[in-house]
Each structure stands twice: as C-alpha cells, then as structure tokens.
C-alpha cells in the first residue's frame, strides 16, 4: 500500500514536471512566434568575433569596428586582440582551435608568416568566393590578392595592410647625442646604407651611455631580411618548392651578418621584440631607434604611450625598400555566420576601413584605392612629431614586391630568431652563431 502510494506520488510529480515543462515550452515557442510576426527585423541579434594579434594598436580596427557596430545593430562585432606575439602564441593557439573545430573567431587575422600553412589547409577556411567577394580582385595589387588564394585557387583571405619600411627614432635622445634631429637630416645621416647607420650608432653610443642605439637585433634583422629578399628573388627561408634554403640564401646570410655587426658594435639594448622587457624598454627609454614597417608605428605609439608623444619621429630606412609583414583576414569554417563574417572581412579590408586603420596605427593600406587616396598621401601623424607618413611611405608602397614564405615559415622564423637573440644576449658565441642558426632552421623545417 505504502509502496504503491509512494510510486503514485512520484508518478504524479513526474507528470506535474512534464506538464510544467510543456507549459514553459509552449510559452517560449508562443513568444518567439509573436515576436516574429510583430516585427520584420531579423529575430536574432548576431555577434561576430574578430580576433587579431600584435602590440600597441595592432590592426588599428578600433574606429572601424565602432563604425560597423553603429551601422549594423543586428550584427555586432566583438573585437579581441589576443596577444602580442604571432609565432609564439597566436598562431599555435589558432591552429589548435581550427583543428578542434571550436574557439576560433568568425573573422581571424593571419600574419604573412602563417599564410603558407593556411593556404595548404583549405579545409579550415570558408570559401569567400561563394559570398561574391571574388569581385574585389581589382581592388588589390596582384600579389596581395594571390596570397589569399588556397592551393586550389579559391579565395580564403583578404589582404589588410602591407609593410613598407622606415626607421623610428627618438628626437630627444638624438639631440642628447649631438646628432641631427630633423627627419630629413636624419634620413641623410644614413642614406649611405647600413654601414652609415652603424657609424651613426657608434657616434650616438660615444655620447650616450645609458641608452642603446637600437632596440634589438630581431627588428633590424627582419628589416634587412625583407630588403635583401627583394634583391634575391623574393624568397627568405624557403624556395618556391618549399625547400629550406635558410643556410644558402644570400639574403639570409647578409641580414645575419649585418645583425651580428650591429650586435658586436654594442649598439643594441639586447632585448627581444614583442616581449615584456621590450615593452618596458620603450617606457624606460632603453633605446633610440627601431626598424619600423608601417604597422610598427602603432606598436610604438601604443606601447610607449602618451608620455613620449612628439618625441618619436620617422626617417627613411637605409638600404632601400622591402616588405615586412602585412596580414590577411580569413573566415574559419567553424564560424556560425559565415555570410556576415565574410561581409565584415570585406568591410575591414575595404579602402575606407584601411584608411581608418592607417590613421589609428599607421598600418599601410593594401587596396589600391586607399593607397592613391589623397588622405593617405597628405597624412601626418601627431604622435611622430607630425611626420608626413604619406610622403615617407607613399612612394614605396605601390612598388612593394611579394616575399614568398614557405609553409613552415613561422616555425623556422621563431627558431632562427631565437639564435640571433641568444647571440646578442651572450648565450650563443658569435663564432658559433651562424652554424647554430642554420641548424635551428633545419630542425624546425623538418
């Protein structure tokens, strides 16, 4: 009896619960139906996640995203810059997300160093052609467009910025060292090439003791490497058959040798770029110059902060043009809203947003329309002592050449640069550095 009653009670409880659930379900479905009929607007608000990397102002998308959000109440963008470091943190993390099928944003930034690997993995990325973005081909220089195609020729990424070169320098520290401070005179100071740059550094170091002339070997190394690549068939660590040539490519050796020369001359602050001590170095005035591709301007202003506004200036780079960096935006396959994400990627890589990013961080636009825009040509940057960036970068960006980067470029870059840093910081003897450099590259490429 007792038993039966209890079971009856349970049954009743279960039935009540089921009924309650049914009611709730009925309510909710009724609710949506009502909303759906009352307004014509899409029932659901979409949030797109935009993931990028880089220091300072990174991609310079703050203003562009705000504008998008204001104009698209139904499709809001959540913008996150995940980390400073592409090779060490962002790219490994992104690949894990892509592999596991969850975690990656709707639109993700990819540095040129990761593009070789990304191209070879079309299964991870949405074909942007299906949303009509093939039509944007004429907007970009051919090389920037072609690097966004997968191995089988489908569009998966749109170009953001390109990496024209300059040297950022501190006018106040140059004055302290008795060097000229005006950007034209400074440019002239090392117009003779990198040896003139080293000479200027030695003059600087003779007068100033507590500040070093350049930040690190990595920054200069990458500037020189991209210049030299342009003279050697536009390849760095890999040839076009994906064969490792780090040990035999004269571009790499020249960049390495020059870096070693600068380090041996005692001109570096022995830091490593995109690390905390490097960021601190900006604030503590540990160095007076660094190699500045367009996007680096935003890193400098964002990291050094307002305290140093107007103390930085921009001069031309010794040794001619080169193309360091530049990124692409892609839409991972795992995105739940690929259509909206593709629209966002297209918007962010459009001339208007690119000019906003240029204003915000100095990132040089990759679209031809934006490159020709008078706003770019006449642009000045108040942070860099009103430097006429359009004049400094403008003439070179249209002649930039694509540097071919192999599938394992990011891995090799990470390992060989570690050897250079070790050489600069004293843990790798100068005499052994080149052999170690080649060996590290070979191991990472395996």
């Amino acid at each position: 009896m007792n038993h039966k009653a209890r079971r009856g009670g349970k049954l009743a409880a279960a039935m009540t619960m089921a009924a309650a659930l049914g009611v709730t379900a009925a309510c909710s479905s009724g609710g949506t139906a009502a909303e759906g009929t009352s307004s014509a607007a899409p029932a659901e608000k979409i949030t797109l996640t935009l993931q990028t990397f880089g220091g300072g102002t990174n991609f310079g998308y703050k203003a562009a995203v705000e504008k998008w959000n204001a104009e698209h109440p139904g499709v809001q963008v959540k913008y996150t810059n995940l980390t400073d470091s592409f090779e060490n943190v962002y790219w490994p993390q992104m690949l894990q997300w892509l592999q596991s099928g969850t975690g990656a944003g709707d639109v993700v930034g990819i540095d040129e160093g990761g593009m070789g690997l990304a191209k070879a993995r079309p299964q991870f990325f949405t074909d942007l052609g299906q949303y009509g973005l093939d039509s944007r081909k004429a907007d970009f220089p051919a090389w920037k467009w072609e690097n966004g195609l997968t191995a089988d020729g489908r569009l998966f990424a749109l170009g953001t910025d390109v990496g024209g070169m300059s040297i950022c320098y501190r006018t106040d520290l140059f004055e302290k060292a008795g060097l000229p401070t005006g950007r034209d005179e400074v440019s002239k100071l090392w117009s003779g090439g990198w040896d003139a740059f080293i000479k200027a550094g030695q003059d600087f170091q003779a007068k100033v003791k507590d500040t070093k002339f350049v930040d690190s070997v990595n920054t200069i190394y990458n500037v020189v490497l991209s210049q030299e690549a342009a003279k050697n068939g536009n390849v760095t660590y890999f040839d076009r058959d994906q064969k490792l040539i780090a040990g035999t490519n004269p571009a790499v050796k020249t960049a390495f040798d020059l870096t070693q020369k600068i380090s041996q001359a005692g001109l570096t602050a022995k830091l490593q770029n995109f690390t905390d001590p490097w960021n601190t170095g900006f604030v503590k005035s540990q160095f007076a110059t660094l190699g500045c591709p367009g996007w680096m301007l935003g890193v400098v202003s964002g990291t050094a902060g307002d305290e140093f506004k107007g103390k930085w200036d921009v001069a031309t780079v010794p040794g001619g043009g080169g193309n360091w960096g530049g990124s692409w935006l892609a839409v991972p396959k795992q995105s739940k809203h690929p259509k909206e994400a593709a629209e966002l990627a297209s918007y962010l890589t459009g001339p208007e947003a690119q000019l906003m990013a240029f204003k915000e961080g100095g990132n040089l636009p990759s679209t031809l329309a934006a490159q020709d825009d008078p706003a770019l040509q006449s642009a000045t940057n108040p942070y860099f002592n009103d430097a006429p960036l359009g004049k400094i970068f403008g003439p070179s960006i249209k002649s930039l050449q694509p540097t071919f980067l192999g599938e394992r470029h990011a891995q090799v870059k990470r390992e060989v640069e570690q050897v250079i840093t070790g050489m600069d910081q004293g843990s790798v003897p100068y005499a052994e550095a080149w052999d170690k450099f080649v060996a590290a590259g070979e191991k990472a490429a395996r």
Partner: protein
C-alpha cells in the same frame, strides 16, 4: 520488501519462515555489486580522461602525425629512435633533472626543519601553521609572473638588491643555465615548501609524546631526538612527499614557461627548457604530434625510473645505521 517490514513491525509474533529468494538477491547485490557501483565514478572518469589519452598517445606516438590538418602515417618506433638521438630532447632531460634536484632537495630539507619548528610549543602556532600554506593558495602563474619580474635583467629587484649589497653584478638571469635554474627552483620552493611542511607536521603529531619523554630522561639531545625518533617515525610520509615532488618536478611546466615569456623553447639556447615544454613545443608549435606523443611516453618512463630511484634512496632515511 514492504511485506517484510510490515511483518517485523507486527510485533512479537513467532517468526515465520521468510520468503528468502528476493532478499538474498538484494543482499548479494548489496555486498557484491554496490562497492563497484560506488567506486565506479572514479574509474569511469579515469577511463575517459586517463586511460583513453594514455592509449591514444601511444597510438599517436607510433605515427608521423602532423597536427592541424596533417596526415597520420604509421612509422613504428621511428619517433622513439629519433628522440633518443635528439640532442634537444636530452638537453631538456638534463634541465628537468637539474632543476628538480636544485629545487626538491632544499625544499624537502627546509620543509622538514620548518615542520620540526612548528611542532614545538610556539605562540600563535595556528597562525604560523596557516601562514606556511599561503604560498600554495596563490596561482602558479601569478607566482611565476612576480618572480620573473624579480629576476628581470634590467629592472629586477634581485639585481637591485645585489647592487645594494655592493655586489655590482648585472646578472641576466635567463641567459645562463645556473642562473635560470636557480630562479625557477626558487619559484618552485616558494610555492611547495609550506605544503610539504604541513604534511610532515601532521605526521609528526602522530608520534607519541612518551617516546620523547623517555628519550629526554635518557639524556638525548633535541637533535638526537629528531634523528632517532622523529625522522624514522615519519618515514612513510617522507616517502610520499618524495614521490609527489618527483612527479611534480619531472613534469615541471608553468614556471619555466612563464619565465620564458610564454615561449616553449626555454631561453635562447634552451637552457631551461623542461621535458614538458619540449613536448608542447614539438606537438603544438611545430605541429609534430607523433613526435610529441613519443616524448610524453619517454617522460612517463623517466618518471617511473625517478620514482623507483628515489624510493630506494628515501627508504634509507633514518634507517638503523
């Protein structure tokens, strides 16, 4: 069941022969199956999160398995063979064992002394005992970040202190083996010494007071009491802490990673790259998943060896000598 209960409640009526069968099955189930049911959550979880990864790792380690969309071709023991002749792997082994020795030996000795001191009648004993546990509560990442700042080359407090003490040495803590190992060992010690001390203390409190009283009457000094009573009596506990710190020390990961600024290569020449870092570097930085899996299995073997070796060493502690 309910029938039975009712009969029992009916009072002092002469016991009838009970219907046996159902009760028997229940009690048999109760005795035989219930314990398994009760411990099953652990084993189910272990199967999913322990056994499966273990077997899967073994499967992966026999393949040339490229992460991020690569192929997985069977290569047999190639990964293991390559690892055994990989200088970087052995470099990581040396670093791991070195940091382990540098961190664990002083840590356990310090913990022992600390526990012995806390076992005395002190004012504010509870507070002091809780105090040694505080480092354990802080997150390992926070510890690593703070210590990395302290050991900074240009603006670190340790270098500043050396400067103040008149030792004008501008040490780049990360660049050399001895200095980076020292820095990491202090991070590990700071966090775990208190933990081991509390475990030792708990063991010390189970030692009967009479033993000490008798020893005192016989004229044994405090030090003699420690070596001849305390240490032999807590030997099982010492063995436990040795095991735990061996496993922890050989899988050391977070501290050196944070010290390297979130990189896996452990300094410019890998001077403080541990095995765990090497595994992550191979698997998730170079996307060579099979190679990393093989390294993980070698680490497992190394831990077994380490625990075995330390067991034989630690067994002698306070033994009849």
């Amino acid at each position: 069941m309910s029938v039975n209960t009712q009969t029992r409640r009916a009072g002092p009526a002469p016991p009838e022969p009970r219907p046996r069968a159902p009760r028997l099955t229940w009690s048999r189930f109760d005795v035989k199956a219930a314990p398994y049911l009760l411990i099953s959550p652990y084993f189910l979880l272990f199967a999913v999160f322990g056994l499966f990864p273990l077997v899967f790792t073994l499967w992966v380690s026999l393949r040339d398995y490229g992460l991020a969309g690569g192929e997985a071709t069977f290569t047999g023991l190639d990964n293991y063979a390559a690892l055994l002749s990989d200088a970087d792997f052995w470099n990581a082994v040396v670093n791991t064992v070195g940091i382990f020795a540098l961190a664990t030996v002083p840590q356990l000795l310090l913990a022992l002394l600390l526990a012995n001191a806390l076992n005395k009648r002190l004012r504010g004993r509870l507070l002091l005992r809780l105090g040694v546990l505080v480092p354990l509560v802080t997150s390992v990442v926070a510890v690593a970040i703070v210590f990395t700042q302290l050991y900074g080359r240009d603006y670190g407090m340790v270098n500043w202190l050396l400067d103040v003490l008149g030792l004008d040495r501008h040490i780049d803590w990360q660049s050399a083996r001895w200095s980076s190992w020292t820095a990491i060992a202090t991070m590990v010690d700071w966090r775990w010494t208190g933990y081991n001390a509390i475990i030792y203390l708990a063991a010390m409190q189970t030692i009967p007071r009479q033993l000490y009283e008798a020893a005192a009457i016989d004229g044994a000094s405090g030090r003699r009491q420690f070596w001849s009573i305390t240490l032999p009596m807590i030997r099982p506990t010492v063995l436990f802490t040795v095991f735990v710190s061996t496993i922890g020390g050989l899988t050391l990961f977070a501290e050196p990673v944070m010290f390297a600024g979130n990189r896996m290569d452990g300094g410019t020449t890998g001077q403080f790259q541990t095995i765990a870092m090497y595994i992550v570097e191979q698997g998730f930085r170079n996307f060579d998943y099979g190679y990393a899996a093989a390294a993980a299995w070698l680490l497992f073997v190394l831990i077994l060896l380490g625990v075995g070796l330390n067991y034989t060493l630690a067994r002698r502690i306070g033994g009849s000598r």
